[in-house]
Symmetry: C2
Subunit: 280 residues, 2 copies
């Protein structure tokens, strides 16, 4: 049987994965949600036909979105995750004993439902007692919060559809306000390669720079995302992700990871010239 999932990485580039079974297909109030099982990547989740995560390579994304800020400031206690209904980010966060409270604000309850049914590899951490789930629009949730969080992770979809509001100036300004005075904001920041993603990246970066004194980008190699070259944004009121990295302290925590290590941490902030030029 030949069943192929295909995603357009640009109007002229297609990435296709051979599927064994289509496990879940629902239209929520916000988006189309699909879960499929594949030969190469195990079970995977798509939202509006865009790849969100696969069982086989999600470790790269979740390692990099969580351990980079945590190794920069291992004293982080209270975290807000916006998006991230699959639970992968929360799964990595709860590995830190020092984290006492995690708020997860996911707009779409059906994403969590789909992952609890078919992707327990990521959803497994959602029942930890430190985790509080709110099914709300992240943009609206954050408006009335001041000085509460040590870390905000924006684990969003792309900047169109339900995730659009999470790439606006209003949102980044409210994140700044919601953070404590040594707070860190990390967000998934699209790819620098294909034109459409590169444009979103440039616009988002400009907006974040206008609020935070320290703003840097870092990369990871994610095989199932367009171009495989994915960026994350690191914005902070106080901590520099290179100068303040305490590699020894993080390594002493003994957290085993498949992608992240403190050398990768440092190396991931080196941007190729064409990306630097894009951000100028």
């Amino acid at each position: 049987m030949e069943l192929w999932y295909t995603e357009e990485h640009s109007p002229y580039v297609r990435f296709s994965i051979k599927v064994d079974r289509h496990l879940y297909a629902k239209q929520s109030k916000y988006q189309r949600i699909d879960v499929m099982n594949s030969y190469e990547f195990g079970t995977f989740l798509t939202l509006d036909g865009c790849m969100m995560l696969t069982e086989k390579d999600e470790f790269i994304y979740h390692d990099m979105i969580v351990h980079v800020p945590m190794a920069t400031n291992p004293k982080i206690k209270k975290v807000l995750v916006i998006g991230g209904g699959d639970g992968g980010t929360v799964r990595e966060l709860i590995r830190y004993e020092g984290i006492k409270h995690i708020d997860l604000v996911e707009i779409d309850e059906m994403v969590v439902e789909a992952c609890r049914l078919h992707l327990m590899q990521t959803a497994c951490g959602l029942d930890d007692p430190r985790v509080h789930i709110f099914y709300e629009d992240g943009l609206r949730y954050i408006r009335h919060i001041e000085g509460e969080y040590d870390l905000i992770i924006v684990d969003s979809t792309d900047p169109f559809g339900p995730g659009e509001g999470l790439f606006t100036k209003e949102f980044y300004g409210n994140c700044y306000k919601a953070l404590k005075e040594d707070g860190i904001l990390v967000n998934q920041h699209e790819s620098p390669y294909y034109q459409m993603h590169a444009n979103s990246l440039r616009k988002a970066h400009e907006k974040i720079v206008s609020f935070f004194p320290i703003t840097k980008l870092y990369s990871a190699h994610i095989p199932t995302y367009p171009s495989g070259h994915w960026l994350f944004g690191f914005a902070s009121k106080k901590y520099d992700p290179i100068k303040d990295l305490d590699a020894q302290a993080w390594n002493e925590l003994g957290i085993e990871t498949q992608y992240y290590n403190t050398e990768v941490h440092r190396g991931s902030f080196a941007m190729p010239n064409y990306v630097k030029k894009l951000l100028k």
Copy 2:
């Protein structure tokens, strides 16, 4: 008109590029050679149906295969390139005034012919007076050479078909012998992600380690290669690519690059844990 080039990155993963025209299709003594023009990546070259390079992203591969060894030892004078009939590696090498002599050993004259016809962006440097082209098997060429080169770059195809001999123990041993006592060997080293590539990578690395005192791997983000995560091998008799990098000296040369810079140089040697584990 819908015309799509498709490459299998694994038996279950396909990468497809929309093609405008098929410009060149010949069967040489060694392989099938195709050049196509695409909407997203400009003109591109495939050998036996595998992507070799595209006009739009070849700068990443050629920057990383050339400038990493050159910035480690900017005194390099005599270089051997094995494979690389497209000319991209030579084009980057001739930008160094210090390089006095380049031997290019390409097994297949028709690759050079195809690139001279349709890919002058890379083939443009092949007529430089310092460049000497030999249409020979690299494995055979190198057997009788001793202590001649400062740098050998193995710019080969994958380890099956005509490139197979360039991944053998005999070949790496002969490279060691052909290098001067402070010589450097750099080779394209496949991807760590998909099983088939990861196996080749592991085997090649083991063989190189058995000859050279210093052996490291470094990565680049190459959108049109399987997984987008591509590795290069750095093996050396004397120079360490991190400790001996003289960033100031390289930057003073004023060579403009689109991908490489000396921060990317350092960062590219940080390997994710799953890659380290693979190499153990």
